[in-house]
């Protein structure tokens, strides 16, 4: 490795990591000055999922999930996390490949403040009572929501699918919220008139892993709650999830005839928006300004790693229709260079058209994946979002391979993204070129990279909508996970067939 590359790599490291730092800790420093950056946790989009429903008998539906508000300490009182009433949460679908949303599901929340004594919403939960149902009087600050569908071509003003649905309270603990999932979680799954379902509420952050001392070493702890995350997991997240009949998502409004039909692939991403305002002479009432997108998430990995710092704000405000500006970073991603630099492994040279396929155009029909597999959806321009071929049959829950396509399971990532897909391992391998699309580098260690966590230590996913596990209760000690500690950090992290680290 030459010195030039080393220097370059350092520069990349710097730019990447300082982004995370900046997000939480930089302020103009004269004490009278307003903070310059404050982490917008309530509008922070962490993960998006799109897959054909794997709950038995539901494969005529697609499940769309978007997670927000990361790093929720289960013992989050007295300010329990809830959706922000002033944020517009959306899941968007492009079914024509032009990068514009053709269908939008909007979630807007309203909190009824029973105890309105404080601005920050402290002491919001009546801890003397037991909350045993969603309309229990002891649920002190109940939040409800409206879900609306907008169709770009014929229903621009939108149609209310449901309103007045209740968000369950946070999982405070067995004394206040006993039998959480039975009493509060499942009852908050509402049926929709088209046969689908909808849910909004707290869930377990399924994939989160904090690697303990490693975080210490690289200073990422600062992005966690309270400025210092323990070497533990067990955070919660806020989930919106909706299940939609397949034909309500495709461009022809029908169930596609097969995986290579022109209407078989849909693009999916989620966003969070806040209202701008006029600085001077605000017109009438507060919160009436235009919505501005402040967070966006399609594929895992892209926003945080592929997009360089100087475009971060811009990327988060962009629609996929304008993604051409981001294309060069997919063709030559920083992470690939970093892996080459630090692991000393051979990585495919740019331009990385293999990655452009996965993230920005979809995978065309090709000999490697076979004649019936495609996720291609593009008008020739790059548009970054998940691409789901809704005509590829589901893999039943017991047979799902966590590596998706790489594990021979064509129903999984990068065909959409299931909650079961171990996208960390997949993405590490994809970026390292350890896939059949780049045969020269589809060798160990490139095609055996992994984070060593192949299953959530807190337990399995649900086998029914919304699939994600119930939130961790506030009184449960979080589980420590230090698998990477003590590992020889100069070698690439390679995992065995069970996804466990090879030591």
């Amino acid at each position: 490795m030459d010195d030039g590359l080393r220097t370059f790599g350092r520069r990349l490291l710097t730019s990447i990591f300082t982004t995370s730092m900046l997000a939480s800790s930089i302020f103009a420093s004269s004490h009278g000055e307003a903070p310059l950056i404050s982490m917008d946790r309530y509008a922070d989009n962490t993960d998006t999922y799109a897959f054909r429903s794997v709950e038995p008998g539901r494969d005529g539906f697609v499940t769309l999930i978007a997670n927000f508000i990361p790093f929720q300490e289960p013992s989050g009182g007295p300010q329990w996390y809830r959706f922000d009433d002033t944020v517009l949460y959306e899941i968007k679908i492009d079914n024509t490949g032009d990068g514009n949303e053709d269908i939008t599901y909007q979630f807007e929340f309203t909190t009824r403040t029973v105890n309105g004594d404080t601005i920050l919403g402290m002491s919001a939960v009546n801890e003397n009572g037991v909350i045993s149902t969603l309309n229990d009087a002891d649920y002190n600050m109940p939040q409800t929501y409206t879900v609306r569908r907008i169709d770009r071509t014929f229903n621009r003003r939108g149609r209310v699918l449901a309103t007045g649905l209740t968000v369950p309270p946070a999982n405070i603990g067995p004394r206040v919220t006993p039998d959480y999932e039975q009493n509060l979680g499942q009852p908050a799954v509402y049926p929709l008139s088209d046969g689908g379902k909808v849910f909004a509420g707290q869930r377990d952050e399924y994939f989160y892993i904090d690697v303990g001392g490693v975080f210490d070493a690289i200073n990422l702890r600062s992005i966690g709650a309270n400025g210092g995350v323990d070497t533990t997991q067990g955070f919660n997240v806020s989930t919106i999830a909706i299940e939609v009949p397949i034909e309500d998502l495709t461009r022809t409004r029908t169930v596609p005839s097969g995986p290579t039909a022109s209407d078989a692939v849909i693009g999916v991403w989620s966003t969070a928006s806040r209202r701008s305002t006029r600085v001077i002479n605000p017109s009438q009432i507060v919160d009436s300004g235009p919505w501005r997108q402040v967070s966006r998430l399609g594929n895992p990995l892209v926003n945080e790693v592929v997009i360089p710092l100087r475009l971060k704000d811009a990327f988060n405000s962009l629609s996929p229709v304008d993604d051409a500006v981001a294309a060069p970073f997919v063709l030559d991603p920083e992470l690939a260079r970093l892996m080459q630099l630090v692991f000393g492994i051979n990585i495919p040279a740019p331009p990385r058209n293999d990655l452009v396929s996965i993230f920005a155009t979809g995978i065309p029909v090709n000999p490697i994946t076979g004649p019936n597999y495609t996720t291609f959806l593009s008008d020739g321009q790059p548009h970054e979002y998940l691409r789901l071929n809704v005509a590829i049959p589901i893999t039943p829950i017991g047979s799902i391979n966590r590596l998706g396509l790489l594990g021979g399971d064509v129903a999984g990532f990068p065909n959409g993204r299931r909650v079961h897909d171990d996208v960390t391992d997949i993405a590490l391998r994809a970026v390292a070129g350890g896939t059949p699309f780049t045969p020269a580098t589809n060798v160990p260690p490139n095609n055996a990279l992994g984070d060593g966590v192949s299953a959530n230590p807190e337990g399995p996913l649900l086998t029914r909508f919304p699939y994600l596990r119930p939130p961790n209760p506030g009184n449960t000690p979080r589980v420590s996970n230090q698998q990477l500690l003590g590992r020889d950090m100069s070698k690439p992290p390679v995992v065995d067939s069970n996804g466990l680290l090879v030591r």
Binding site: S15, M21, E205, I218, R274
Partner: protein, 418 residues
């Protein structure tokens, strides 16, 4: 933010681990801080001494610590660390953002504008840059550009940072209700893990109520800020002020003394001086004023010159105050510089110029009772008794305790003319 992505990086970076043998020697005998952010930054510098990253994180830590504790001197450490980062990587954006923030903190407003404009050319959609511009233009008194920058900022990224700037600029333009709405929203959506920012927004909100004379509302908000972030100096000072405003000098004295025990605070010194003066304890008052003067002078260019000059003018040191006021107005012709200059000119007997500047100070329709009081006194001295009295009355109506001593002056001036 994506958790996987973050994790992937962790995996990659963790492999960089190198044994640590060198010790951090960047700051002036930086005390040991137990905060993991400090320790992490230190470890980063040891591990990668040629990377700016550790220095940037160290600077960020000191700047945040300065905000948290009110110890302004910690910014000097931040300056050292940022300079080192920029020496290693002159084009590094995070380092340049910090450098520009430190320009603001140390009242190098023109430099802050230049640095921000240079970054704006590279990052036309980065909200941070517009925040820097809005702050700097407000200080310099270029309000048109400040409004423009804040508008761009909030259009690019609505959130706590942009909403709180919108609130400040609305307040300057006399839109009290609009400012309250924005500070309220800024506080509500601030990161719950960042107690300082949450409580900072609450204190601003409380101050907006205090400015309008709504003392009970203000105090309730200060109490919430203190409950959320116990011991917060900024909230304690404001709570002390509202206690004094309702005549509870004992509690005010206790709170302001408490703050002082933890570190020097200019506002607390001035308010304590005023309380002692009201009580006729002249020696104790003088002691506080002298402490205040020494403190500000020690800050050099980073001092709050307007606050210093105003205090000197009100203690009869007109020539010194006028000299500072003229210089301030020349480099930063803000409404507060204009107000100060007008007031100093009035005190020195130059009524015509005094009127000119105080009118300039009123050009945004800022409903700051201190400016109204100054304008009223100048109008009266000019012979416009009824106009002047009207201004004094509006100052007192807006906030009957806008300043412990000057509100007393306003009342006695009105009493005389009856």
């Amino acid at each position: 933010m994506n958790i996987f992505a973050r994790w992937c990086l962790v995996a990659v970076i963790s492999s960089l681990g190198v044994s640590c043998s060198t010790k951090l020697r960047t700051t002036t005998d930086a005390a040991e801080y137990s905060d993991p952010k400090f320790k992490n930054a230190q470890a980063e510098i040891e591990r990668e001494p040629t990377s700016p990253r550790g220095y940037i994180n160290l600077a960020a830590f000191f700047m945040k610590e300065s905000r948290r504790t009110g110890d302004f001197s910690l910014n000097a450490n931040a300056e050292v660390a940022v300079a080192k980062a920029l020496e290693l990587a002159p084009d590094d954006i995070p380092a340049r953002k910090l450098e520009a923030s430190l320009h603001l903190a140390n009242h190098r407003f023109t430099k802050a504008v230049d640095a921000a404009l240079a970054m704006k050319a590279e990052l036309p959609r980065d909200s941070f840059v517009y925040g820097l511009l809005a702050d700097a233009y407000v200080e310099i008194g270029d309000y048109t550009k400040a409004v423009e920058a804040a508008q761009t900022m909030v259009d690019l990224k609505p959130g706590t940072a942009s909403y709180s700037r919108v609130a400040q600029i609305r307040s300057l333009h006399g839109d009290h209700q609009g400012a309250i709405e924005m500070f309220l929203q800024a506080a509500r959506i601030a990161d719950p893990a960042d107690k300082e920012t949450q409580s900072w927004c609450l204190v601003q909100l409380g101050d907006e109520y205090w400015k309008g004379g709504k003392f009970a509302e203000a105090e309730k908000i200060y109490d919430e800020a203190l409950q959320n972030f116990p011991g917060y100096f900024f909230a304690t000072v404001s709570k002390g002020r509202v206690r004094a405003s309702v005549g509870d000098y004992e509690t005010a004295e206790r709170l302001l003394t408490e703050v002082q025990a933890r570190g020097p605070n200019a506002k607390a010194m001035l308010m304590l001086g005023d309380i002692y003066e009201l009580r006729g304890e002249d020696d104790k008052a003088r002691e506080q004023y002298e402490k205040f003067e020494a403190f500000e002078k020690e800050l050099g260019n980073a001092a709050d010159h307007n606050r210093l000059a105003l205090s000197l003018a009100d203690r009869g040191r007109i020539d010194e105050a006028l000299a500072i006021a003229r210089k301030e107005y020349e480099i930063e012709p803000s409404i507060y510089s204009a107000d100060l200059l007008g007031w100093c000119l009035y005190k020195s007997g130059d009524l015509a110029d005094a009127k000119k500047y105080v009118l300039e100070a009123m050009r945004l329709n800022t409903s700051d009772p201190r400016i109204l009081f100054h304008a009223g006194m100048i109008a009266r001295a000019e012979g416009d008794k009824s106009g002047g009295n009207q201004l004094l009355k509006s100052a007192l109506e807006r906030n009957p305790a806008f300043d412990l001593l000057r509100s007393r002056d306003a009342r006695s001036a009105l009493a005389e003319s009856n």
